[in-house]
């Protein structure tokens, strides 16, 4: 693996749980293929975090840097507010294509938006291979190849592709590490490069809420579910449960 490993940290201010798995997996891959068995300087590989989000996302980036990533690119622009998955993937693809990475690792979905489609869209935009929903990732640097076990409701598919590849990992893949004190101190010296849309050559009109190809008409709070009947079991609870289901014609 001669190039760089990249990771997209979350758009949330709190480092998205699922993206911690992506950061951890990137660290493990680098550690497995580094002569010093450690990520960071001397490993011969670079882990760059890419985050698209408001100013406050810096905190999440610092956390991922303290886990061991090398540097970060933070795309922040007021015009990005309200961007949908299509716009998000457009911006990320632009950053990735100008930086020259071998491997992009994403979390499976951001916990707030539940779109889970950004990794696939990213691969589509870059014309890269998409290896998504990975429950395990193996990199074979000698063959410039990535192998994953893709885990979906239909079962497991063992897939592979040559660099460059977009991988998305699920939350079963690893146990993300806690930043060490040394890591936290080191993170303070790491570089976070700020980029705006004009730095990337993207028109503000191409992203954000006004450019979204779908628009929210209205949203309303769903009426809270009220609790129904509650019975105390004194040997007959099971029968009452069955009677309730029969009354509701479920059985």
């Amino acid at each position: 693996m001669s190039g760089q490993v990249l990771d997209r940290a979350g758009v949330d201010a709190v480092l998205n749980d699922l993206d911690e798995y992506a950061v951890e997996e990137a660290l493990r891959i680098v550690e497995a293929h580094s002569p010093t068995k450690e990520a960071g300087e001397g490993s011969g590989h670079t882990i760059t975090l890419i985050s698209m989000g408001p100013e406050r996302a810096t905190e999440a980036i610092r956390k991922a840097l303290s886990m061991g990533a090398d540097n970060a690119i933070h795309i922040s622009d007021d015009a990005l507010a309200g961007s949908d998955a299509l716009a998000t993937s457009l911006v990320l693809a632009k950053v990735i294509s100008t930086e020259g990475f071998d491997l992009v690792i994403c979390g499976t979905e951001s916990t707030d938006a539940r779109m889970s489609v950004v990794p696939a869209m990213l691969a589509q935009r870059l014309d890269w291979a998409a290896l998504t929903f990975a429950g395990s990732v193996i990199v074979e640097p000698e063959n410039s190849k990535v192998l994953i076990a893709r885990s979906t409701e239909f079962g497991v598919e063992n897939m592979s592709a040559a660099f460059p590849v977009v991988v998305s990992v699920n939350e079963k893949i690893n146990e993300p590490r806690y930043p060490s004190f040394k890591g936290i101190m080191a993170a303070k010296k790491k570089t976070i490069t700020a980029k705006s849309l004009s730095d990337l050559g993207i028109a503000a009109s191409a992203v954000g809420a006004s450019a979204a190809w779908s628009s929210v008409k209205d949203s309303l709070l769903r009426p809270a579910r009220s609790s129904g009947i509650k019975v105390e079991d004194s040997g007959d609870g099971g029968n009452q449960l069955a009677a309730f289901l029969a009354e509701k014609r479920v059985i």
Partner: protein
């Protein structure tokens, strides 16, 4: 009349239940064309609101997945001037939909629970706490529909059939499937498709036998809370909740599950919720239509026997 495409899913050579649901939604928007990638599925599409079946040829979906499927669908959208593509909201379905949206420059809505004749979609977000109505502003709308969101309306007649040979790019063939291990089926319905789900949590203490027994007498799928899957008591593929699957069945039975917000996010749009829990203060009771305060190891076997008796 507007042309609407639906992507037919299959499990083990059988058309998925969600196909009828997609056809029912699709018929509201226009004339429905069902797209299949396995020719054998075409014969199973009678009796739905489907006017036409397109059999896509020359795409080896067992070797390349899912990018070529997305390319084929995007080309069909152009060929048919389709105003909408409806796909089931599975992990794979959403991914395909996202790729199609990129290729065809179409707006995308995921996890819709309803769509009307004007392509206004309804989504239930923030764990079912908020309902959002959205409109797609592009010529074609790509929409993924959540399973169990509609009663299937039967259609009449046999759909016409045609073949379509898409042009698949080299980029779509970059990721290769080397081998497949199908999901282990225990004869129970698939979790996100099931009309009834019986779930177990911490209260099972690792023993899912009473959960499975009740599920089997109800013809239900088995779910589990994160506490149960993290403890290794049940496979992660059965996890219901924020980091697991979202289900919306006719009936959800929560057994020994306290009802943490993360679990509720995955099940609170269920039509009917029944809970069994030892703790009378368990938050799950706040959203249950029927709750039994008691030990699941006492309550479930009695309920299973009573249901068996009622069914006999």
């Amino acid at each position: 009349m507007s042309q609407v495409l639906i992507l037919v899913d299959s499990v083990g050579g059988q058309v998925s239940k969600s196909t009828g649901e997609l056809a029912t939604f699709g018929a509201r928007l226009g004339s429905v064309t069902a797209v299949v990638f396995e020719p054998a599925l075409a014969a199973q599409l009678n009796g739905f609101s489907i006017a036409n079946v397109v059999v896509v040829t020359g795409v080896d979906t067992s070797k390349y997945s899912p990018a070529p499927v997305a390319e084929a669908l995007a080309q069909l959208i152009t060929a048919k001037s389709a105003t909408a593509l409806l796909v089931t909201s599975s992990a794979r379905g959403k991914e395909i939909a996202g790729m199609v949206a990129v290729i065809s420059n179409s707006g995308l809505i995921t996890d819709a629970i309803d769509v009307d004749a004007d392509r206004i979609t309804t989504q239930s977000v923030f764990g079912g706490g908020t309902t959002v109505h959205s409109a797609v502003t592009t010529p074609t709308a790509v929409i993924t529909m959540r399973s169990n969101s509609i009663e299937v309306v039967a259609g009449s007649g046999t759909p016409t059939q045609e073949e379509f040979a898409p042009t698949i790019s080299e980029a779509a063939k970059l990721a290769v499937v080397n081998s497949t291990e199908p999901a282990v089926k225990g004869g129970r319905p698939e979790l996100t498709e099931a009309s009834i789900v019986v779930s177990g949590g911490r209260g099972t203490n690792g023993d899912f036998k009473p959960i499975e027994a009740l599920a089997d007498v109800l013809g239900a799928a088995v779910g589990a809370s994160r506490a149960a899957t993290d403890a290794g008591w049940y496979p992660h593929t059965h996890q219901v909740g924020q980091t697991g699957k979202t289900v919306s069945p006719q009936l959800y039975v929560a057994c020994g599950i306290s009802g943490a917000i993360q679990h509720r996010a995955g099940m609170q749009t269920s039509k009917l919720i029944v809970a069994v829990n030892k703790d009378p203060e368990a938050p799950i009771f706040e959203l249950s239509d029927f709750g039994v305060v008691g030990d699941l190891f006492n309550v479930l076997p009695v309920a299973t026997a009573a249901i068996t008796a009622k069914k006999a």
